[in-house]
Amino acid sequence: MTQSNRLSGGQIDRNTTVNFRFDNRNYTAHPGDTLASALLANDVRLIGRSFKYHRPRGLLTAGSEEPNGIVELRSGNRQEPNTRATTTEMFDGLEAQSQNRWPSLKFDALGVNDLFSNFLSAGFYYKTFMWPAAFWEKIYEPIIRRAAGLGSLSMEADPDEYDKGFRHCDLLIIGAGPSGLMAALTAGRAGADVILADEDFRFGGRLNSETFSVGDQSGSDWAAQAVAELSSMPNVRLMARTTVIGAFDHGIYGAVERTGDHVATLPAGKPRQILWRIYTKKTLLCAGSTERPIAFENNDRPGIMMASALRTYANRFAVTASQRVAIFTNNDDGHRTAADLHAKGVHICAVVDVREDAPVNYDYEVLSGAQVVNTKGRLGLTFVEVALPDGSTRTLECGALGVSGGWNPNVHLTCHQRGRPVWNDDLAAFVPGSNLPVGLTVAGAANGVMSTQGALQSGAEAAAAALELSVAQPVLPEAEDTPIAQKPFWYVEGCKRAWLDQQNDVTVKDVKLSYQEGFRSVEHLKRYTTLGMATDQGKTSNISALAIMAEVAGKSIPETGTTIFRPPYTPVPISTFAGRMKGQEFHPTRLTPSHYWAKEKGAVFVEVGNWLRAQWFPLPGELHWRESVDREVRQTRASVGVCDCTTLGKIDVQGADAADFLNRVYANGFTKLPVGKTRYGLMLREDGMVMDDGTAARLAEDHFVVTTTTANAVNVYRHMEFVRQCLFPDMDVQLISTTESWAQYAVAGPNSRKLLQKIVDPEFDISNDAFPFMGCGNITVCDGLRARLFRISFSGELAFEIAVPSRYGDALMRRLMTEGEEFEVVPYGTEALGVMRIEKGHAAGNELNGTTTALNLGLGKMVSKKKDGIGSTLSEREALVEPDVLRLVGIKPVSPEEKVTAGGHLMNTTGPVDAAHDQGYVTSAAYSPILNSNIGLGLLQDGANRMGEKMRLVSPLTDLTVEVEIVSAHFVDPEGERLRA
């Protein structure tokens, strides 16, 4: 069987034959085919099954509005469910499977649903499956879920790459049919930057589907010539295979270019699709129109198609759906299909025209005033039953029936900013309304201009108007100029199982039931019946259903409602919206200058925001992370350890008012801080909660270096700019981030000074007297490298932070390690850092959770009342200063080996364990190798006055109950003697 339905002519490459497979059978086709045209060429009419009743389905259309002809394309991890055969460009080796059927397309067990369709009417599921209650999840729902759905995902990661890009133009033209091409020619010749996008792989729109001439050429030749001229213009960019999916605010359009869907395999590095964000001043929508069906009994059999689609298949793809074709129409356009097919040698059984005054034809029979009342054929159309005006019926034997109910302008993008189309009585269709997206105008059939000549003219005029061109009108080629007279005919009287939404199985009967039950607005209709919710988004069904609802309600269509459309215009792979930002590239990765060194040392890394930080440094033989961390803590506290703290935010604050500025952003005072000193700073949000903490080092009268926590660096900088620009605009203060400029290392432990003295150049005295606790200054190290030294401590030990330009960070870390060998220096990671800060009782991220005040954290005294500090006023609200507010405490299990769980709650030792008796919670927990005990920090009601009290730590989630003692949060060196040593 080789392409038995192939006709002559067409825009396919007959010199090349390609192979493809559908449902595991081999077929041949030609480049230029779609999967749909290739299947028809091979006389395959049955392509899928419907959603609910599993009715056999074939192609309805030849475009992106297709509801029925959807398949699983490709295989393995590239399997792509619900792919429209009508827009799938043929390539050699294409593979497709039918879907939503079992065991086979021809015999689908769930086809039984069709027999019970009467019980499965619209919304039936809302009225049943309620008894017994427990059966819903266990029995009813799984059955429904298995039966529903359409295609399948492979369950494997999508292996393809996707890109995102950005383009800018003066005029974006959407659709390259006659109006779009003529608009592009007009704008392009005038020198405007133009993007012309079309979803098809061949420009020309309906010109490729019709036999009309444009000027002295065929329509498709004229289109090709226009494309050639446009291609030669440097100011015009042609984007084929590109669907403009949405109109967003301020002239931003989303467009999906399918760069790799028409090839069997993508070259390395090339994307399958690109999501373009197109920024344009003006947009011209030339999206054409879509033919609408007529509903009649059993109008969904494979072989029943839109008449215009039959014409497209015949003229463009040189294919007929059958050798015997009938037409059912309410307008002249249906007759064109008959004429074109007849000219190609296809037998026209009859044209059934509902109008009494249908045009006469001598080549084939025209049945005027007649209607199709039923059809036959289980897996494909075999007979059409026609009611004649005299009351008799006639049966036509045919394999395809072309249906034409008139044309609906493609107004979709005009609705994307909630614009509503308006009803046009002359066209009996919705046309774009007045509230379009700013900058968008509409031309051609999309604007209700239904002739070729009209489209050309409308495109030229609209482009000139959009660009405010004053040039004379271009000379337009002469073309067909017979607008279609449309008198609506929505459905054949008396039909019931007449499909509107073919994919979701919504029939005329369902619309009537919806009305009967009070679901009478369009929104209710759609939601109750699922009309228009299928993968075709109701492109062929919504308006017909609305018309039927109007008729049932005895109202006009505009009174009944309008249907609007939402983005995207056609469905878009989720991968396309993700682009490159997935997997490891989901967020940028920030590395510290010592990253590569740490990697050499076998460090285990942890994500902290976008940073990767060394979490611990395992040594050979250490089997459990705790062994490494305990060692790092012990050795730091016993001798010296080094930790990369580059990730802390650093902000350079300069200016005559720098100190005053910090006085506002910090709760505590900064004006009196001497040069050469550092101070701990507590930053509040205006609502009085702690925002961040850090240090500010005064390097000069008018120069501070502020540090922030790693997590809050960006927020704090933004906040400080807000304070500077919006609250105190006349302060002389300048800010700039220096986080990345400096590699900074904490050198902590009793031997830290000794180690640093080996690298700090001798002219800088860092003895305790010359460089006391909280001292800071510019120094040089290793014979002349500029550096900064801060004597600050997070660990509670004698400690320094030393900073050098980032490019030398790696070298400095290596130097510290070699110079520190005599002290058995250890590098330590974030885990040991965390243990030591808990031992010392320093609040960190788990305590600064955005709901804690300075008072909660035991830092209430830091909030100065003598100055205008942000957050000070609201921090005094009544509930925030009640006597029993949460206070930071230390938590120690009565038996040291008992676990302390962060997130556990604190209860009295006796009494109920429930929310009513909850008195606080554990914020952080660690094992202290110094105390040989698990310890924790927590927030406890009135905690400051409960030292020594025994409580129960409960964590029912992790099945834990531990008796604990409430202690000071400062487990190690509470007096701070080590810091000052």
Partner: protein
């Protein structure tokens, strides 16, 4: 009319002639005991409980468009009670219990499906916070389960475990969480309220509140003045607009939240899953569509549509978390306007105007709250005192410092 499987069969055999409108379409009376403004989920639920539990039958719901056309018809249908704070958890757990009996209460299948919800965590800090939250849930009588990475992988092998920028370290599961069919919730409440005598008045826009001497006397509407002893406002998304008619400024901003649905697919997701390292949450509907969402667009708006950056952000999170959905196609996107409050929690309270009551500030968590919100608002309207599970949802909590801030981001609504 009672719905049942038997009834469906009977109607099928008799041509479906017996089905009646699910609710009447009455003209407004001159006066009601109580008027509820807003025919969304919360307003209809309020009417249901007012009539069925509190015995108030002289009640009207006035709706400017069609009922169920607001946020109850535009959400990702998630039901859960996995809150941390004392002000919230009892309320949401009350709501969960109402969901569990909703179909029987309403005689309408809202397809409440307790397929579970899993919140993933990716850092130790998140694990600690989820531990605190899970414990709080259990202490309040809800269910919670902490899963480690291996357990998550066993239940959800398709998640990204091997190429993740932010590896999954575990998750907090609530097995009783799940989804419900959002439209059906609105219709079910409407049907029940209607059957108990409540007038549901559609296409009746409130254009003003008649307030004299500090007392609310009723509502001016597009269908004329309607008097009432009490007026309750349940119009989340539009709270600012309506309460402005009473001269009130609110601790609320209106923001748009987008939601997305994919084409229908055979079952792939067994439960609701939320990503802890990006803005993405997803479930699969009974029809097979992946229903997903993420962050709000982040700027004040009353326009029910969003923009591309958030669409991309959500899909980046989605593909990063579950790479197997990449080839599924996004079918439809839409936007709903949210009442984003100053602490991320709602308000159910009296107002300074006598006889005027307020229910709003639901942020983007209003759907799961629907039954309890209706119940508690009905309680407040009927008894003039807060329901025991909703005592914290007061206007004055911002003045006194009793915020209910689950996320800890303070008075910046677009961060909640």
């Amino acid at each position: 009319m009672r719905y049942s499987g038997f009834r469906v069969i009977k109607e099928a055999l008799t041509g479906h002639k017996g089905w009646k409108p699910v609710w009447r379409d009455p003209e407004p009376k001159a006066h009601y005991d109580i008027i509820v403004i807003g025919g969304g989920g919360h307003g209809l639920a309020t009417a249901h409980y007012l009539s069925k539990v509190y015995g108030h039958r002289n009640v009207a719901v006035v709706e400017k468009g069609w009922i169920g056309g607001g946020n109850v018809g535009r959400n990702t249908t998630i039901v859960r009670s996995n809150y941390m704070l004392d002000g919230n958890e009892p309320f949401y757990e009350f709501s969960m219990k109402l969901w569990e009996g909703l179909e029987q209460d309403l005689n309408y299948n809202a397809m409440m499906s307790q397929r579970g919800i899993l919140n993933l965590f990716h850092t130790d800090g998140q694990r600690d916070a989820y531990t605190r939250r899970g414990n709080a849930m259990i202490l309040h009588g809800a269910d919670a389960e902490l899963l480690d990475a291996d357990q998550v992988r066993k239940e959800h092998p398709y998640l990204n475990f091997d190429d993740a920028r932010f590896p999954i370290k575990g998750g907090l599961a609530q097995r009783r969480g799940g989804t419900a069919r959002h439209d059906a919730v609105a219709w079910g409440f409407a049907r029940s309220a209607d059957s108990h005598g409540v007038d549901i008045i559609q296409n009746c826009e409130v254009t003003g509140l008649r307030i004299e001497n500090g007392k609310c006397l009723g509502v001016e509407t597009s269908k004329g003045f309607i008097g009432a002893n009490k007026v309750g406002c349940a119009v989340a998304g539009n709270s600012g607009r309506v309460m402005n008619m009473a001269g009130m400024r609110l601790p609320i901003e209106s923001h748009v939240l987008q939601a997305f649905v994919s084409e229908g697919l055979k079952p792939v997701l067994p439960s609701v899953i939320t990503y802890g390292a990006g803005h993405f949450y997803v479930s699969q509907s009974d029809k097979g569509g992946l229903v997903f969402g993420g962050d709000i667009d982040g700027y004040n708006t009353y326009a029910q549509r969003g923009n591309l950056p958030v669409v991309e952000d959500v899909c980046e999170g989605g593909v990063s978390l579950m790479p197997m959905i990449g080839r599924a196609r996004l079918l439809r996107m839409w936007g709903g306007v949210m009442d984003m409050s100053m602490d991320g929690s709602p308000i159910i309270d009296r107002t300074p105007v006598e006889g005027l009551y307020f229910n709003g500030g639901w942020c983007y968590g209003g759907f799961k709250a629907t039954p309890a919100s209706g119940y508690c608002f009905a309680h407040l309207l009927a008894k003039d005192e807060p329901h025991s599970t909703a005592t914290a949802y007061r206007f004055d909590r911002f003045r006194t410092g009793r915020m209910i801030d689950e996320k800890g981001v303070g008075n910046q609504p677009n961060l909640h």
